[in-house]
């Protein structure tokens, strides 16, 4: 009874339940849902698809989690993804040897470097000028696509470069490259923030900036770091998305991905008000979102109803996590405890 109560009270309980429910729906509609087979030495199956297609969102959501934990938000990630894709593709196109590994390495490095500059810009607006994060990043959100457009000169840049293509759709030991990259980003973020004191500082600044300043926490540097990291994540995701289609589309690469990323963070139980964050929650959140998309196809929901379906599921998750619902549930648990007798109530 008490164990059950503790499980229900866990911040990841409802997101995980949601994910399991979605899995169950898929399994009913498509009995082979959990089957993972090996074809041509590659892992193959619905679960693998979910992981691969969800990788870009997850990568951005990891950066977004840290930004949100500092009471911030980064709306410019989609635009940054588009810029990094455009930069990489235009470099590859401009090179006499588009298929060589060196060209791709240069293209990717330059794209990532530029994302660092963009992240520093966001950090500057927020940490130094003190502009509200939602406004500060809105600037790059709108301007960024314009910049990407200038880089691609209004064209959709299609590249024919096997090493670049590999980033998006390649496999390594049978596992999709995108999944490996996402795992590395996730693992590094978790390791760096939780094994050092960085995570505590991020949470502390998000909960009470002034108290943190007086305790000697360098909030400004911290904000620079999280916005830069978030932009870096966005660029990685942009490269994966671009490589997957082998085309840079300034208008559509990473369109609305900031909303999915924010949603993943929120579903994962990290509050938009800042403070305590959970990268594991974000992982579950990103999986929920991607599984939703898959569910739409397996269950055969007509495309025109997709958005409504998604909205309904998101509403349910948010309802389950709202403080009011939590209060109702704790009241329910209390009544159970009371009924179970004074002994339990007093323990």
């Amino acid at each position: 009874m008490n164990v059950l109560a503790r499980v229900v009270a866990h911040r990841l309980f409802w997101p995980v339940v949601m994910l399991l429910v979605l899995f169950a729906i898929n399994l009913i509609a498509f009995p082979g849902f959990f089957t993972v087979s090996v074809r041509d030495g590659h892992l193959f199956g619905s679960l693998i698809d979910i992981l691969r297609n969800g990788a870009p969102t997850l990568i951005i959501a990891v950066g977004m989690t840290l930004v949100i934990a500092t009471r911030g938000i980064d709306l410019s990630v989609g635009a940054i993804a588009a810029i990094s894709g455009a930069v990489a593709c235009s470099i590859i196109l401009g090179s006499p040897t588009p298929g060589s590994l060196a060209t791709v390495a240069v293209a990717v490095s330059v794209a990532l470097l530029i994302s660092l500059v963009l992240g520093v810009w966001n950090g500057f607006l927020v940490a130094v000028l003190g502009i509200q994060p939602i406004i500060a990043t809105l600037i790059l959100m709108t301007a960024g696509r314009g910049v990407a457009m200038l880089i691609t000169e209004g064209q959709i840049l299609t590249v024919n470069s096997p090493p670049f293509k590999f980033l998006g759709s390649g496999f390594w030991f049978g596992v999709p490259i995108a999944v490996i990259i996402a795992a590395v980003v996730f693992g590094l973020a978790a390791l760096i923030t939780r094994r050092t004191a960085l995570g505590m500082f991020i949470e502390s600044v998000g909960i009470n900036p002034e108290a943190s300043r007086q305790a000697g926490v360098r909030a400004r540097g911290l904000l620079f770091a999280v916005y830069t990291f978030c932009a870096f994540c966005a660029a990685i995701a942009g490269l994966i998305l671009t490589a997957n289609t082998a085309a840079a589309d300034a208008n559509n690469t990473g369109l609305f991905i900031e909303l999915d990323a924010i949603l993943a963070v929120v579903i994962g139980g990290t509050s938009l008000a800042g403070g305590r964050y959970s990268l594991l929650g974000t992982l579950v959140g990103a999986l929920v979102i991607q599984t939703l998309v898959t569910t739409v196809y397996t269950v055969g929901i007509p495309p025109i109803a997709t958005m409504v379906f998604k909205a309904a599921v998101v509403t349910v998750v948010c309802l389950l996590q709202s403080p009011t619902t939590a209060e109702a549930f704790s009241g329910f648990r209390r009544r159970l405890a009371l009924r179970a007798g004074k002994g339990v109530a007093a323990s």
Binding site: A197, E203, E210, G216
Partner: protein
């Protein structure tokens, strides 16, 4: 005095538990109509929790609440209020940007044809204010009034709903003597109308003046219910803290015996003409190693502003700060910390604790920040550190993983102290470390200040309670109107002498008077006779504790 009437409120076996904290454990509590009742206990005893259980803010885990003979279970404060239980909280929960009338009538505005009847609203507000003998314009903005007046307006709001039970949580903590008398007059007249009033205060004098009956809690448990006239004060204090209260007397003895080596070599920091526009006029302040310097002055006298310069919280724009003989500029709190100067803010909630982090995280925060993010303090060391401070400072609950926001005010203060002690400061600046906390925790903190000073730490101690300043300090620096007006050895100084210095404008007369009252060490700061026009014009002094503190 046995009351034949049935109790209006009866709570039985109330238990409330928070994650890691047992806030209330089977507490009984009752109130009779036409009675002023006091809830007494240390910080963390469960007073606020009991009040919140009664007002529907918290759900209860066990127990029953009966109101006028009927079982009730409130799911929110609005329900409790509708049932006749009104509350005025310690921190005024009103809207400073609305008018007084709007604040009083908010949520139950008189209507006519669906629209708000502004005229009726003003009239009703004026009546209520008149009933409290408050001569203010209902149309004026709430924020334009002093905190004391806002408090009375909050009471006006509370009694408008025909309250059967009125709960006043620390209503006098920001009122001066006259305002307290005013409040008591109001309380007495409400009492005659049969309202049951719960009066929660740390001021024993006030409790004994106004209350008929009191209930004592300790550690979330009921100690007992007593008639005020039958309970001696010393017994009450013992019941509250559960041990003999000899600590403070001991301190007094020790204070006399401490001798400070004040040779120049031992001076740890020296502020010379340190000032900041709009905060504090340039002032001097040397602090020796192992010395406790008290800052005395009214709220807004510049005492906090001066301390903030020394703690690196604000930047000084004039003057010089020397730390161990070296001229140093403090631009950030971080730099101050690296010089082992710790500033503990008076604003515990906004500038002190990080509520959603654990006790452990809060304690190691400053030390960790000083080490940098890349060199985390090993988990084991964190636990040792936390455990040792939980024991030394008697932090309750003794759970390193409890969230600090779930702790009582006094225990939060101790966690903050632990944070600063963890960096092993050479100078500890304590701005109102004992405000709003009970006598037991207060004594513990004062004792600590002594021990630390004996071990060579300098302490800058700010408190509105002059007795406390006098008890602890080797030297007292007095501020008024944003400037230092006196710097006195604490040798025979009295509260009255200090009060005269703090309060009075005619300094020369004071100085003479003081010289009689206490054999003065030379007044080092130049005594100012004319306050600058702008200082005089700016901000009427908000009323503050000294008066009441002086009587406590």
């Amino acid at each position: 005095m046995t009351d034949p009437a049935a109790p209006v409120v009866e709570m039985r076996g109330i238990s409330i538990e928070f994650p890691g904290v047992k806030a209330l454990d089977g507490v009984d509590f009752r109130m009779f109509p036409g009675e002023v009742h006091s809830l007494m206990g240390e910080n963390g005893a469960g007073k606020s929790t009991l009040i919140k259980a009664l007002t529907g803010v918290y759900g209860i885990d066990a127990g029953t609440i009966t109101l006028s003979g009927e079982h009730v279970s409130f799911s929110g404060p609005a329900q409790a209020q509708a049932a006749g239980i009104s509350t005025v909280y310690q921190e005024v929960n009103l809207l400073p940007n609305l008018s007084v009338a709007e604040n009083i009538m908010l949520g139950r505005e008189p209507r006519r044809l669906g629209a708000i009847d502004w005229r009726a609203m003003r009239r009703r507000s004026a009546e209520l204010l008149g009933g409290l003998n408050l001569d203010i314009d209902p149309g004026s903005l709430l924020g334009d009034h002093s905190l004391a007046v806002q408090q009375l307006i909050a009471i006006a709001r509370a009694i408008d709903v025909n309250a059967k039970v009125l709960i006043l949580d620390e209503p006098t903590s920001s009122l001066d003597t006259d305002e307290v008398a005013e409040l008591f007059r109001v309380i007495r007249s409400l009492k005659e109308q049969g309202v049951a009033i719960l009066f929660v205060s740390h001021f024993l004098d006030q409790v004994y003046e106004i209350c008929d009956r009191l209930t004592v809690l300790r550690n979330g448990k009921l100690v007992g219910e007593y008639l005020v006239e039958e309970l001696l004060r010393i017994d009450l204090v013992q019941k509250m803290i559960g041990k003999e209260l000899t600590v403070l007397d001991d301190l007094e003895q020790r204070a006399r015996s401490v001798v400070v080596d004040e040779s120049d070599a031992a001076t740890f920091v020296n502020a010379s003409k340190l000032g900041r526009r709009g905060g504090i006029q340039p002032a001097d302040l040397p602090i020796a190693a192992g010395e406790v310097v008290g800052l005395a002055g009214l709220l807004g006298s510049g005492r906090t502003e001066f301390a903030r310069l020394l703690g690196g919280i604000d930047r000084a724009d004039t003057g010089e700060l020397t730390i161990r003989g070296k001229a140093t500029k403090l631009r950030t709190p971080r730099q101050a910390i690296s010089h082992r100067i710790a500033f503990s803010s008076e604003n515990r909630r906004d500038e002190g604790i990080v509520g959603d982090l654990t006790v452990r995280d809060n304690i190691v925060l400053a030390l960790q920040a000083d080490r940098g993010w890349f060199r985390p303090i090993p988990k084991k060391r964190q636990d040792e550190l936390t455990q040792s401070y939980i024991q030394t400072l008697n932090i309750r609950p003794a759970n390193p993983d409890a969230l600090v926001r779930n702790l009582s005010g006094g225990n939060q203060q101790k966690v903050l102290l632990a944070r600063w002690l963890a960096i092993a400061p050479r100078l500890l600046i304590l701005d109102e470390p004992t405000r709003g906390i009970d006598i037991g925790a207060k004594a513990e903190i004062q004792k600590l200040v002594f021990t630390l000073a004996e071990n060579g730490m300098s302490v800058l101690f700010i408190s509105a309670e002059l007795e406390e300043v006098l008890r602890l300090s080797h030297r007292v620096v007095v501020l008024r109107d944003r400037r230092v007006v006196a710097d006195l050895e604490n040798d025979g100084l009295t509260v009255d002498a200090l009060l005269a210095l703090i309060a009075d404008g005619s300094v020369e007369a004071d100085a003479a008077e003081l010289a009689d009252a206490a054999e003065l060490a030379p007044v080092t700061a130049s005594v100012t006779s004319v306050a600058p026009a702008d200082a005089a014009a700016s901000a009427p002094q908000p009323p503050t504790d000294p008066a009441s503190g002086g009587r406590a």
